[in-house]
């Protein structure tokens, strides 16, 4: 019974495809999968925007949206209907293009942003047997399409003919290029241990249980460090606080999409959130066991429920961080990427190699943890080397 519930979407896909003539089946199956991604993830996006506004409101001790319910009825959902008028507003607003803008590139930039982000979903496993294309080199595909986002950011910033847009684009590209390296290097450890770039093989490796606890990579020393590095780098890749310099409202208005309004702005907004979900999905797949359950007695819960629960849990942490931390400065951003994250990611690769070849007992735990802890302390000290951080003095208006 639970197995059937687990495979309900796969069965539904096969059932729908069976109505189509034999020759068109693969095409129909791809179209249904595309429709699934195009409907589910924007829906998750719209729910996330409302969670984000309400959550940040709560954390910052204010209300946030709390009125809107279902339109044309008296039902109030404590503000959870807010995304419907928000969406209608976005779609019906006037589309303003600056006179000096490069019209074609300005038009193409949001489209070019969304395409690679949507392509990245093609390789993510959402559940058991729920991968759209099971590429042998899925991880490589994910990073390859992710690289194309930078070009769209540049297109948006350059074509607007606005210094704030260009500054935002420059910042965004510098940040994405810098943080892509620790992102990929932290993922490399998993590839080394599993010996495959296929995301389903990576999940299969984590889908085993000892004493009822799953073999998720986050439960190993190198996996924990890898996950934290991946998490920080994915915050930076999706331009979230504290890495939101590219769109720092108080400095450069909105960065590279300053000159976008209406539907094009909505596309950027959507692209940014979908990119965030995709990269979180990859992080879950690599370190948090993908759609597997953390403990063996909960394996009856359908796999896609686990995937989306983990996704929303990490999105919540992202929102939490956004409401809590202030923005970094540009030099802090670069120093952190190149002097702390990159060396730690390289040491982590070494540790993952050691872990793979040492015998599975307490000694490898000791050795690997010691190396990582020592590296963390030394690198942290090095980062703080010339920063004269004394006791903080508060001055209040008198």
């Amino acid at each position: 019974m639970f197995d059937k519930l687990d495979q309900i979407f796969v069965t539904a896909l096969h059932w729908l495809v069976s109505f189509v003539p034999e020759a068109w089946r693969s095409l129909a199956s791809s179209l249904i999968c595309i429709a699934f991604i195009l409907s589910v993830f924007p829906a998750v996006f719209s729910v996330t925007t409302i969670f984000e506004r309400k959550g940040i409101g709560r954390i910052q001790n204010r209300y946030g949206p709390n009125r809107v319910g279902i339109p044309f009825t008296k039902i109030r959902l404590a503000g959870f209907g807010q995304f419907i008028p928000d969406g209608v507003k976005m779609l019906t607003k006037e589309d303003i293009v600056p006179r000096a803008a490069d019209k074609i590139v300005h038009f193409l930039a949001p489209v070019v942003m969304l395409i690679p982000v949507l392509l990245a979903y093609a390789v993510l496993p959402f559940g058991r047997n729920m991968t759209v294309t099971d590429y042998d080199a899925g991880l490589l595909f994910f990073f390859a399409v992710g690289g194309a986002v930078e070009l769209s950011v540049f297109m948006a910033g350059w074509s607007s003919r606005n210094k704030y847009s260009l500054l935002g684009a420059m910042r965004a590209i510098a940040q994405m290029v810098s943080y892509e390296i620790p992102l990929i290097l932290s993922a490399v450890t998993v590839v080394m241990v599993v010996g495959s770039l296929n995301l389903n093989a990576i999940i299969a490796h984590q889908n085993q249980y000892t004493f009822g606890i799953a073999h998720w990579f986050v439960f190993t020393p190198w996996g924990l460090v890898g996950f934290i590095l991946f998490f920080i780098a994915s915050l930076a890749e999706s331009n979230r606080t504290p890495f939101d310099l590219p769109e720092a409202e108080s400095e450069i208005i909105a960065g590279y999409f300053t000159e976008y309004s209406g539907f094009k702005f909505a596309l950027f907004f959507l692209g940014e959130y979908l990119g965030m979900f995709a990269i979180i999905g990859l992080g879950i797949t690599l370190f948090l066991g993908g759609w597997t359950s953390p403990v063996s007695f909960l394996t009856w819960i359908p796999s896609y429920v686990w995937f989306f629960t983990k996704l929303m849990a990490i999105v919540f942490v992202f929102i939490w961080i956004r409401a809590t931390l202030p923005r970094l400065r540009m030099d802090q951003l670069m120093n952190f990427a190149w002097k702390f994250m990159l060396p730690l990611a390289l040491i982590n690769i070494l540790v993952a190699g050691l872990w793979h070849y040492m015998a599975a007992d307490w000694q490898r735990w000791l050795v690997c943890s010691t190396i990582i802890f020592g590296a963390y302390v030394i690198l942290g000290r090095g980062l703080m080397h010339n920063q004269k951080l004394g006791k903080r003095i508060y001055r209040y208006a008198e």
């Binding site: 490069d102 042998d136 080199a137 990073f143 390859a144 070009l151 350059w158 770039l197």
Partner: protein, 172 residues
């Protein structure tokens, strides 16, 4: 020849042609990125996944960005007034067509190429990785060394400039 091959080939050739002939240099760079993507699609149709993905990762993700930044930082975005084609473009096309014909004829009549098609090699990403780590490990290491040297050189150049500007800032 499938319809997908013809479509990607047309897109790639068209983008490559516009990369040469557009007036605005940034447009040219973007057209070049499109043609890189088209080439990657062609590789993927040949089942060369590693080459295809590496093409996108390196050429679209890094080299196109590098070109675009180089254009932005060295000159203003103004398009040139006069035509981008030189006066002797007819002769240029004729010469290149002749060279292409000659090379094509030489390649097709070469005895080095086996006449019957060899069996398609299985080049999965795993095989490529295995080959790089066993048979071709020395070239890989040498390339790594060269790249590291280049990176250190770039850092040293950047360091000198920053220390100069720092002292200049202090004097003024």
């Amino acid at each position: 020849m499938s319809i997908f091959f013809i479509l990607t080939a047309i897109v790639t050739l068209f983008a490559a042609a516009s990369a040469m002939s557009l007036r605005n240099l940034v447009h040219c760079a973007l057209a070049l990125a499109v043609s890189f993507t088209g080439i990657a699609a062609l590789y993927l149709q040949l089942d060369a996944q590693f080459v295809g993905f590496a093409e996108i990762l390196v050429y679209v993700g890094a080299i196109a960005i590098l070109i675009v930044f180089a254009i932005l930082l060295t000159r203003s975005g103004e398009a040139p007034e006069n035509s981008v084609l030189t006066s002797g473009w007819m002769a240029g096309i004729a010469i290149s067509a002749m060279v292409f014909t000659l090379l094509g004829w030489a390649v097709l009549n070469s005895s080095a190429i086996p006449k019957e098609n060899p069996p398609a090699p299985v080049a999965t990403v795993k095989n490529v990785g295995d080959a790089l780590m066993t048979k071709f490990v020395l070239p890989l290491e040498i390339i790594g060394l060269v790249l590291t040297a280049a990176m250190i050189g770039a850092v040293i150049i950047a360091l000198k400039e920053s220390s100069k500007s720092e002292t200049a800032g202090r004097e003024s």
